[in-house]
Symmetry: C2
Subunit: 296 residues, 2 copies
């Protein structure tokens, strides 16, 4: 990892932790456990990939860092709520997340449902607040696109497809669709949100959209590779679950070598898409490389 990326990750990780600290003070009384569960899930040393993308994309347009950080926090709320629900026994049934017990293991399933639902609501509360952008039109556009990226035509739809994949053998096109929704939509929105905050022009938006789509797919292929070749201790979660379930993935359909070559081609394309931004996009370039070269 280069120094530019390492610094940016360190800063955004600290900023996001502080944002959750401020957003989730534990109340006295019977709602305390709900907040403890949200704090456990949000402040556990995640990669903060989506916040990093928001900050890197919005920096291209000199967006106020405090505004960008609010949007980054909202997106991370959505990401974390999806992890909490996805880890539940009726979904992926995972006991560990980033090396720590999942919310339903540490608390119980009902608390996991409600902690996920609560973070979901908080995401839209944060976006709608005037502190997120001076223009209400921009805040509404952000809410609309986040809802689309996370709803049944986005992330939740991709998770539904992932459930169906357990009993149906998908082809490459359907697996690509699945991943474009399940993880791609929120990654794309993270980049797009930077452009929306900066009220970027059409050419810049289109370039960033292509970049985001490419790294989203590369990120997922890298996840598949990690699932097969990775170290569970470094990953902090159970691995090789897809293969055990007989689920079609990029890897099972393309083979390791072709999957790796495809991911590399996507990263190369993503970096070319950034050419119009010159040196200003060096952090986004470093992120593109990093999607392939990570150990968790």
């Amino acid at each position: 990892m280069n120094a530019l990326l390492a610094d940016a990750i360190a800063i955004v990780s600290k900023d996001i932790d502080e944002a959750f600290e401020a957003l989730l003070p534990v109340p006295r009384g019977p709602r305390a456990q709900l907040y403890e569960a949200m704090r456990h899930a949000t402040m556990n040393g995640g990669k903060r990939m989506r916040p990093l993308l928001v900050m890197a994309a919005s920096a291209l347009f000199d967006v106020d860092r405090r505004c960008a950080l609010r949007v980054a926090t909202a997106i991370e709320c959505i990401h974390v709520y999806s992890l909490i629900h996805d880890d539940m026994p009726c979904m992926d049934d995972d006991d560990l997340r980033r090396g720590k017990p999942t919310v339903h293991k540490l608390f119980d399933e009902a608390t996991a449902v409600l902690a996920g639902d609560s973070l979901h609501a908080i995401a839209f509360e944060v976006l709608a607040d005037a502190a997120t952008h001076p223009k209400a039109e921009v805040r509404c556009a952000l809410s609309l696109e986040l809802a689309r990226a996370s709803g049944p035509a986005g992330m939740a739809g991709g998770q539904m497809m992932d459930l169906v994949a357990e009993t149906t053998q998908f082809d490459l096109l359907t697996v690509t669709d699945l991943q474009a929704l399940k993880t791609g939509a929120l990654i794309s929105f993270s980049v797009e949100a930077g452009a929306m905050l900066g009220e970027a022009g059409a050419v810049e938006c289109a370039a960033l959209a292509r970049y985001a789509r490419a790294i989203g797919l590369a990120f997922q292929i890298a996840d598949d590779l990690l699932d097969v070749e990775g170290d569970p201790a470094l990953a902090g979660k159970a691995l090789q679950k897809d293969a055990a379930a007989g689920k079609a993935t990029f890897l099972s359909l393309l083979g390791i070598d072709d999957a790796r070559a495809e991911a590399q081609a996507l990263v190369t394309q993503a970096i070319e898409d950034l050419s119009i931004f010159g040196d200003d996009a060096d952090l986004l370039r470093a992120i593109a490389h990093y999607t392939l070269n990570r150990d968790r």
Copy 2:
């Protein structure tokens, strides 16, 4: 039920069913089940109490019916998502809702989680859309307040308290807090949303807020009474679960007679709060009476 209310319920029920029909076309392919689950949960003859309140309150200010209906649909999305999640085995574990199988019984638990999450996202997608109100400031204010009413300081927080109530004996103040969050917050927002859409003045907003708080509490006491005295066939769900669980309710703390008197006093107060609106508020008055005189 008077004719004014019966007509209004018939119209809003038809309008909301049509809104969900338009909002939830079933896509081909592996996401179909997600949409079928959402359609099953949203189009099953619910009381549409919250949409009715939005329509009745917004009519006081001559709000465009199409705008009001969009907000009513968004609120009903939130209400229905909460029912889907609340019915799950890890929460209330209910097999029947309005006389039909709950989502996790008809499909499975994973689909119930995702159908709830999807409706949650759709609510904010609907609110943020320009068709909901010409002014983005108003749309942002609606999103902000819906997120607060449904999140950890609102509905989801009330549900957390309800879980804690299974193992802790609450006093009357805490039960009142619980209900104010669990059902009161969304009922209050339904009335408030009408005022927000109509950009009502402070005096009108305050009167409607008092009205909403009173009928929300009366509604919940009536629910407790129905739980003890109601007919499961008419209610379309299992009854007397709170008593069986030994949970503190208005009824267990006040006794039937005092609870009924308290609910009656709340309805009387709610109707007095409407005096500044004259005859225009007759539908809201009829709704206040109806909170106590219903069989489901």
